[in-house]
């Protein structure tokens, strides 16, 4: 079977990957099963060294799995590499591709030629994308002089040159400031929405990013998928009760009266600090209300009337993906940084003795 219409965008079965390394082999992936539907925005969330990049390398045909199979729109990553390379692209955070002596526009054109565009078609597409990613002013600036954020926008334009059906993003906002990260995220969302069926696989270790962008998330750690689902589903897994923050104009008799209502686990007065110090001081009562389930809220609201209280504000407190992660992995997110970063490869000095005009940056 190869490339059938109903094929999932990504279909990985039993993927393992072992790296030969000293002093002992590293198992980067220990049995990954993953199915991503066409058009889905899928996230891999995990700490350093979890195996995210390894999985992306396998799916982008750059690395063979030690065991297992993976297909992209039905094409086998081990054998049908050519076909997959025609319909995918990838961008990684901190990517330093290309040649410093070229201008942004020239570098993009060079890549367009690799991706199957014609010469004139390439220039047209490059100009259009440069505007779309917001690099109009840097169009003729040398690649070596672009800032990190501009550089990453250019990398994005590169990734979009061939209109990929599946776009792999490995920590695309790594090292970007808040506003550059936001514009990169907006780019991804805008691009995907422009044509139905476009699939994105994104790795990140920013919880908020995964939460904001992804329709489904797999939480990975030590080469395994610990949980998979929509952000809401994942959060629900750690949420056994519903928690509300209830703000009332006043409450005769205190919160104790609410605690006795059916379905209410607890009702406790919260610290009454207004979030905004300039807001008019209110004599409000804030209550942290823990319910067995959401439906118990109706009883509480009905009871308030009898107590002569009016609702000023009501908000459901959501657990964060971080809570999910801590619950699943049993430790915080960044606790094992150094374990993953110890794998430095020495850099070959550029002592070539011959000036190399392409490498100058």
């Amino acid at each position: 079977m190869s490339g059938s219409i109903q094929a999932p965008a990504i279909d990985a079965r039993g993927i393992t990957r072992v790296y030969k390394a000293k002093p002992k082999d590293v198992t980067a992936l220990a049995g990954i099963d993953l199915e991503v539907a066409p058009g889905e925005f899928f996230g891999l969330l995990g700490p350093n060294g979890a195996g995210k990049t390894t999985l992306i390398k396998i799916l982008t045909t750059l690395l063979l799995p030690s065991a297992g199979t993976a297909r992209i729109f039905g094409f086998d990553v081990a054998t049908e590499t050519r076909k997959i390379r025609r319909i995918m692209n990838m961008v990684a955070g901190g990517e330093q591709s290309g040649y410093g002596i070229l201008e942004a526009r020239e570098q993009l054109w060079m890549f367009s030629q690799f991706y199957g565009l014609g010469a004139r078609e390439g220039w047209r597409r490059v100009d259009e994308l440069i505007d779309a990613v917001g690099l109009a002013e840097q169009r003729n600036q040398r690649v070596s002089t672009l800032s990190t954020g501009q550089r990453q926008k250019m990398n994005f334009a590169r990734g979009l040159l061939n209109d990929p059906w599946v776009f792999f993003l490995d920590e695309p906002t790594l090292g970007l400031d808040v506003s550059a990260a936001r514009s990169v995220r907006e780019l991804i969302v805008g691009w995907r929405a422009a044509v139905p069926g476009r699939t994105v696989l994104l790795t990140t270790h920013y919880m908020a990013e995964a939460d904001e962008l992804c329709e489904r998330i797999a939480i990975v750690d030590r080469g395994r998928i610990l949980a998979i689902g929509s952000p809401a589903e994942l959060k629900r897994r750690v949420q056994r009760e519903s928690i509300f923050r209830l703000e009332l104009d006043r409450l005769a008799g205190g919160p104790g009266g609410l605690a006795r209502l059916p379905g209410v686990v607890s009702a406790v007065a919260a610290l009454n600090a207004p979030a905004d110090p300039d807001a008019p001081v209110r004599q409000a009562v804030v209550i942290n209300l823990v319910l067995r389930e959401d439906s118990a809220l109706a009883g509480v609201v009905a009871a308030l009337d009898g107590l002569g209280a009016h609702i000023v504000a009501l908000a459901k407190s959501e657990p964060s993906l971080e809570d999910v992660f801590v619950e699943l992995v049993g430790r915080g997110f960044d606790d094992n940084e150094e374990a993953a970063r110890s794998n430095e490869v020495p850099v070959e000095p550029h002592e070539a003795g011959q000036p190399d005009p392409e490498e100058k940056r």
């Binding site: 889905e40 054109w109 069926g197």
Partner: protein, 315 residues
């Protein structure tokens, strides 16, 4: 969720977006393909076009760099020129035949190509890997041989300017007089020499990626001996058996010897094979080197995919 490959509703065929679309959206829509499956199937014509465009694409930064960094051209011309000059003075002092000075000048011009092959062909892919380009090349749809050929084409353009400059300046400064009878064969030998040289570089490129640092040092060690046995600065026939071996194995040695025989007919026999035989040797070398380059590139890719070496970890 939308089915894959259903083009954007409301989009006319050919993919131009509705006029109201923001500029960003138009770029994001791109050139819609009917489905991933359709987009993955290319006609042989598309495959060819992609490979040819990739050659031009990879040659582009080299040609561009030529105009952008004029300072290093001077530098790269000056060094070979100085070496050439020193030999010219030695030969003059020794009252060597006039043709020897011509030999040295041709050798100096060809050095430009050889340096380019060693540093910007053989070592290039290895540097590209550090840069993160290598994985992008492999992740793109073209045959990576196109990248190697593009590197060679760009390198040829770069070094030709240098070689021509050295040839003209030295000819003028030292008053070299050529005596050429078979122009056609001379040009053919020149082109074949370059083909064999760059084929050799393409072959080394994959070896460098596989062997990394060791290959790098090996080349550094090899540079001088190769200069020597290639007879850059004297006729290789003088080296007897070693010279014969060099002619059989090193493209620079054969090519230079053939060109010298053809450019200075008056010198008489040099103790080496006839130029047309050397031309055939060059043809064989080109075929073998490029064939090996293809095979090595392929096995390098397979091995690197198995061992996880197409990419640099710390990126």
């Amino acid at each position: 969720m939308a089915a894959p490959g259903v083009a954007q509703p409301g989009l006319p065929a050919g993919g131009s977006p509705p006029p109201s679309a923001a500029p960003g959206l138009r770029a994001f829509v791109g050139r819609p393909t009917a489905s991933p499956q359709a987009a993955a199937n290319w006609t042989p014509r598309q495959v060819w076009a992609n490979n040819l465009h990739s050659i031009v694409g990879r040659a582009y930064p080299r040609v561009r760099g030529l105009t952008r960094e004029p300072s290093w051209i001077v530098f790269q011309m000056l060094l070979p020129f100085l070496t050439t000059s020193s030999f010219v003075f030695v030969y003059r002092a020794l009252d060597a035949p006039a043709a020897y000075i011509g030999f040295v000048v041709i050798g100096g011009a060809m050095t430009a190509f050889w340096l380019n092959v060693v540093w910007m062909m053989a070592a290039q892919l290895y540097w590209e890997k550090d840069q993160g380009n290598l994985e992008l090349y492999f992740a793109a749809p073209m045959n990576v041989m196109s990248v190697l050929i593009g590197m060679a084409v760009g390198g040829l353009v770069m070094s030709s300017t240098r070689a021509v400059a050295i040839l003209f300046i030295a000819t003028f400064v030292f008053g070299v007089s050529f005596s050429i009878s078979q122009w056609g064969l001379l040009i053919a030998v020149f082109i074949l020499t370059l083909a064999a040289l760059y084929g050799f570089g393409m072959m080394l490129a994959s070896l460098f990626v596989m062997w990394g640092r060791e290959a790098f040092h090996l080349t550094q060690l090899m540079t001088e001996p190769v200069y020597f046995v290639s007879g850059l600065n004297f006729p290789v026939g003088r080296l007897g058996f070693i010279g014969a071996l060099a002619i059989a194995l090193i493209p620079l040695a054969v090519g230079l010897d053939a060109m010298r025989q053809l450019a200075f007919v008056s010198t008489g026999p040099t103790g080496t094979p006839e130029p047309w035989i050397e031309a055939l040797i060059l043809v064989a070398m080109t075929v073998v080197f490029i064939g090996l380059a293809r095979w090595l590139l392929h096995s390098m890719e397979e091995r690197a995919r198995r061992e996880g070496r197409l990419t640099v970890r710390w990126r």
